[in-house]
Amino acid sequence: MTSKDTVIVAEAVDKQISSGGGSLAILRRLSLSVAAGQSVAILGRSGSGKTTLLSLLAGLDLPDAGRIWLDGSELTALDEDGRASARAGRVGFVFQSFQLLAGLSALENVMLPAELAGAADARARAAAVLSRVGLGDRLRHRPRQLSGGEQQRVALARAFVVPPRVLFADEPTGNLDTATAAEIIEQLFEFNRRDGTTLVLVTHDPHLAGRCQRTLLLEDGRLHE
């Protein structure tokens, strides 16, 4: 079902949430395939299921029906540990609310994935990637000592400290002003160019969507090109 060039395939994916007595269908027979190195923007109204879709594509959650492949592994056939292994070293994340660990410094936050990947030079790598995003002088600062834009750059550095095959980003500029957002977008595509990372971005930001090779609209539980 996947070739070397397709990193993400979703096939007839259903996802419902149970609320109160009944259940609400969020995704209905949704299908998608993303080629390696592509940049894809997913748009949609608030509550349309964009975050839900992202969590399924990354294997953080399972669909109620349908199958999903990530870089050759069929996520829907794996248990939680198997899905974690499928992500290991291949997937990066950037979130709207940054999701930095408050107890760690910027450097330590960025080191974390490298350490987990067993990199011997985690510290050096983290420092290097932090200076690439312009935070070379803020290594020891804690998240709460950084502005929102700076925090998101730390998150970006964390996502790329081990160059991933796929980067999932959930409204990465949602909490930022236009100028800062533009900076972040610049750096995001810089990584995409240099490392050939596939980008899957959920966004409301037309500027960000415009930079992507593909733009998909999530509506009524399905994707429209």
């Binding site: 959650d61 939680e80 974690a84 499928a86 992500r87 291949r90 408050a102 974390l112 987990l116 067993g118």
Partner: protein
């Protein structure tokens, strides 16, 4: 790199980061519990080592083997093969003569080397300055005690006839190891050289000799020697021999164990609170790490590795503290042991090393396990978290408490009381806290800060309740180890007041009673409690001749001797009736008998049994109407057997009394002995001093170990307040954002913490009162009365401590910009 190794490395790196605040309770709790257990364990190992060597003074040996036949050379050979020092001692009653006078004495023939433990002190004449004997009486000489000296009206160098021997009296025995059971051997005693035993001709058939072998050496060798002992021989350790000193030490050991237990339980509370907070704090990282590709095994392994590292660190800190603690403890009590304390044994560390595992598994296991189960999806859905498995958590905690209790007490009764007490206390605390929270609604709400604080307390509901419970436990621990401990120790010391009798006067004859009373009244003792006593030989039980009773050799010999039978109308305060009823004052002449519990057990007596005695040649049959328990350490004359007045033939009675004679008035003794030459005086001042010193030192030792519990209690307090911190921070930020001034915020907290602390303290005070009473009643046999001051002490301490801890924890919050707080904790 394999997963567990990677996980361990990850855990190690995590610890190198700045440790989270939440870790304090976990690390501190474990360290304190280990420290307390190690201090007491090591210390106990030293005392145990010293007890064999030192209360050895009680026996003059580490082990005494007694038989009714001469000690064979095989036993001596076995002792020397085990490298034990051994001396023989033969003891028997015999009449000694000096000129015209005769007296029955307990004669002891000793070999050189005696005593193996303790010291033999002698003097040139009664009440002269004592000095160490430095050996045993050389052949041809005899040493006698003051009782025999006065009874026979001896003078230095006087010649005593003992069997065929003529021995010259060269010293008075002042203190002799093994001579404490003074009611067992009422007869005065003398000591001579065993080399002359055969020549005395006193060992003929029918003589009642107790053949003793005294041994000293390493505990292991003694143990082996005991195991190979033929059954007809009885072995006795100093512990068994010295009941008074022993009970004191025993009670002290119990208090120490209880203090360790209190520390461990408080540490458990600190660990539980800390682990809960730690688990909550770890969820984000777990979710993130899983999102980045970590498998559950990795997370679990990392968590275990981290816990293990924390435990190792805690053990290291705890052992260091414990080593220090035991050194101080040893320093406190070392003077009680004339030869100092031996070095601690590594085995003393076992109880300490056994602590961390149950503490961690039982109290940190469930919340941390739940943290490890956090689904990766939490990175996108901030409210997602694995619930702490409630039942598993409760089961683990209960199992851990049971394990702790068993490990630390090894005593079902104590463990039961502590467990029951802990559960009852928890229930009481919870109920009282809930009631108090309800009552708070009615509190007048004047002042904005006050109102804001009370509303906050009310609104947090379950959280407030949990916090009150935790604070209550901490305060209870604090009250127990300070106030209740002090109360118990005082009650316990009160059992041996400063004016407890230090002299026993016996062998007063009935015709002398009037003169004696007059003499004593003239010298400031108008109301002496004089007790009569006759020697009674037991003939039959329920009509069965005791000679046909099937018993062991020990009981046989015990039956064969004469019993002291006394009579009185009213029961002494140091006696307690266990079954049956003690007679009323008008039971004069009734053929009734009251029996001490140990004797009833030994002879398997029941209420209604008829015992026939021979009292001075006359038969006397008495029926058992009650069984008593006697507190033998009350230092008052007590008897195994009591009858109502007017039934026992009184003609042959001798009378006995005890009194307190202050040291400056010792001269009175000389006069007394001159006036009543047949009077025998037992001076137990030295024993009393020893017991008092033991008490005082033991109390200090207990206070020291309670210091660990105290620290653990403070830790619980901090952890309890820490638990609510993130929420409080967010709330403060919100209120500040809404325009509430810093001052008002502080006033609200002041109100909230003050009420929280005072209410918890009040409940803890009540619980401490109850627990103190139960401990006094069932564990220490020392009454712990009503201490209402515990209530306000608890409330005041609670309010103060919670306010202080609250200020420490929150002092930076109101000045932190609200946005930062909201950002930092967003989504939680």
């Amino acid at each position: 790199m394999s997963e567990p190794v990677a996980a361990a490395r990850y855990a190690l790196r995590r610890l190198r980061r700045r440790p989270p605040r939440e870790l304090t309770g976990l690390l501190g709790g474990l360290a304190l519990a280990v420290a307390a257990a190690a201090a007491v364990g090591l210390f106990a190992s030293r005392v145990a080592g010293a007890l064999g060597a030192d209360t050895g003074a009680v026996l003059g040996a580490d082990l005494r083997v007694t038989g009714v036949a001469p000690i064979g050379t095989d036993l001596l050979q076995r002792a020397s093969a085990l490298r034990l020092s051994a001396v023989r001692l033969d003891r028997f009653p015999s009449v000694v003569a000096h000129g015209e006078r005769f007296h029955l004495a307990t004669v002891e023939a000793v070999e050189s080397g005696y005593p193996l433990r303790g010291q033999l002190l002698i003097a040139d004449a009664p009440f002269a300055a004592p000095h160490p004997a430095g050996g045993v009486p050389p052949p041809g000489q005899v040493w006698v005690d003051a009782a025999l000296w006065t009874a026979l009206q001896l003078s230095p160098g006087a010649v005593l006839e003992l069997g065929h021997l003529r021995l010259s009296v060269t010293a008075v025995i002042v203190q002799q190891p093994g001579a404490v059971g003074f009611f067992d051997t009422l007869a005065p005693r003398l000591l001579f050289n065993r080399a002359q035993l055969a020549a005395s001709g006193l060992l003929g058939p029918g003589s009642r000799v107790e053949y003793q072998l005294l041994l000293a050496g390493s505990p292991a060798a003694l143990q082996r020697f005991r195991r190979q002992l033929p059954p007809r021989l009885r072995a006795e350790t100093p512990r068994q021999a010295q009941r008074t000193l022993d009970r004191t030490l025993d009670r002290a050991a119990r208090l120490l164990r209880l203090a360790v237990l209190a520390t461990a339980l408080l540490a458990a509370a600190a660990v539980a609170l800390s682990a809960r907070a730690l688990g909550l704090a770890w969820r984000d990282e777990v979710a993130l790490v899983k999102t980045l590709g970590a498998r559950r095994r990795f997370v679990a392994a990392a968590l275990c590795a981290e816990l293990a590292l924390i435990a190792l660190l805690a053990i290291a800190i705890g052992l260091a503290l414990g080593a220090l603690g035991q050194a101080v403890l040893a320093h406190l009590v070392a003077p009680m042991f004339s030869r100092g304390l031996p070095p601690p044994q590594p085995a003393g560390l076992l109880p300490a090393l056994a602590l961390p595992l149950p503490l961690l598994l039982g109290f940190a296991g469930a919340p941390l396990w739940a943290a490890a189960q956090t689904p990766p999806l939490r990175v996108l859905q901030r409210t997602l978290a694995a619930a702490v498995p409630g039942r598993l958590a409760a089961a683990l905690a209960v199992a851990a408490v049971l394990a702790l209790l068993w490990q630390q007490t090894r005593e079902l009764r104590l463990a039961g009381i502590v467990l029951g007490g802990a559960l009852a206390t928890l229930a009481l605390l919870a109920a009282a806290a809930a009631a108090l929270l309800l009552a708070l609604r009615r509190l007048p709400r004047r002042g904005r800060g006050w109102r804001l604080g009370l509303v906050a307390l009310q609104r947090r509901g379950a959280a407030s309740l949990a916090q009150m419970l935790a604070i209550g436990i901490a305060l209870l621990g604090l009250l127990l180890v300070t106030q209740v401990r002090a109360g118990l120790v005082a009650a316990w010391q009160a059992r041996l007041p400063a004016d407890a009798s230090n002299l026993f006067l016996i062998n007063l004859q009935p015709p002398q009673l009037g003169d004696f009373r007059a003499f004593m009244a003239a010298h400031g003792y108008p109301r002496l409690d004089l007790q009569p006593m006759v020697r009674a030989r037991l003939l039959a039980i329920n009509g069965t001749d005791v000679r046909r009773l099937e018993t062991g050799a020990g009981t046989r010999r015990w039956i064969d001797r004469e019993f002291n039978l006394s009579w009185r109308a009213r029961l002494g305060a140091d006696n307690r009736v266990l079954s049956g009823r003690f007679w009323s004052a008008d039971s004069r002449g009734r053929p009734w008998l009251s029996v001490d519990r140990s004797m009833a057990q030994r002879l398997q007596l029941a209420l209604g049994d008829r015992l026939r005695f021979d009292v001075g040649g006359q038969p006397l049959e008495l029926r058992v109407t009650n069984i008593r328990e006697v507190r033998w350490d009350s230092f008052r004359p007590n008897f195994f057997l009591l009858a109502p007045p007017g039934v026992v033939p009184a003609a042959d009675a001798q009378w006995i009394t005890s009194l307190y004679l202050p040291p400056p008035r010792r001269d009175l003794l000389r006069e007394l002995v001159a006036q009543f030459p047949n009077l025998t005086v037992f001076d137990i001042d030295a024993i009393l001093q020893q017991v008092r010193q033991t008490l005082a030192r033991a109390s200090r030792a207990v206070a020291l170990v309670c210091g660990f519990a105290l620290a653990a209690g403070v830790l619980v307090l901090l952890a309890a307040l820490q638990a609510g911190r993130p929420e409080r921070a967010r709330e403060a930020a919100l209120l500040r954002a809404l325009g509430v001034s810093r001052a008002l915020l502080w006033r609200a907290w002041l109100a909230e913490f003050g009420v929280l602390g005072a209410a918890s303290g009040l409940v803890a005070g009540a619980a401490a009162q109850g627990l103190g009473w139960a401990l006094g009643r069932w564990v220490f046999e020392a009454p712990f009365g009503l201490h209402l001051e515990l209530l306000w002490q608890g409330a005041a301490a609670g309010a103060l401590l919670v306010l202080a801890a609250g200020w420490l924890g929150l002092r930076r919050l109101p000045s932190t910009p609200p946005r930062q707080v909201l950002d930092a904790t967003a989504g939680d």
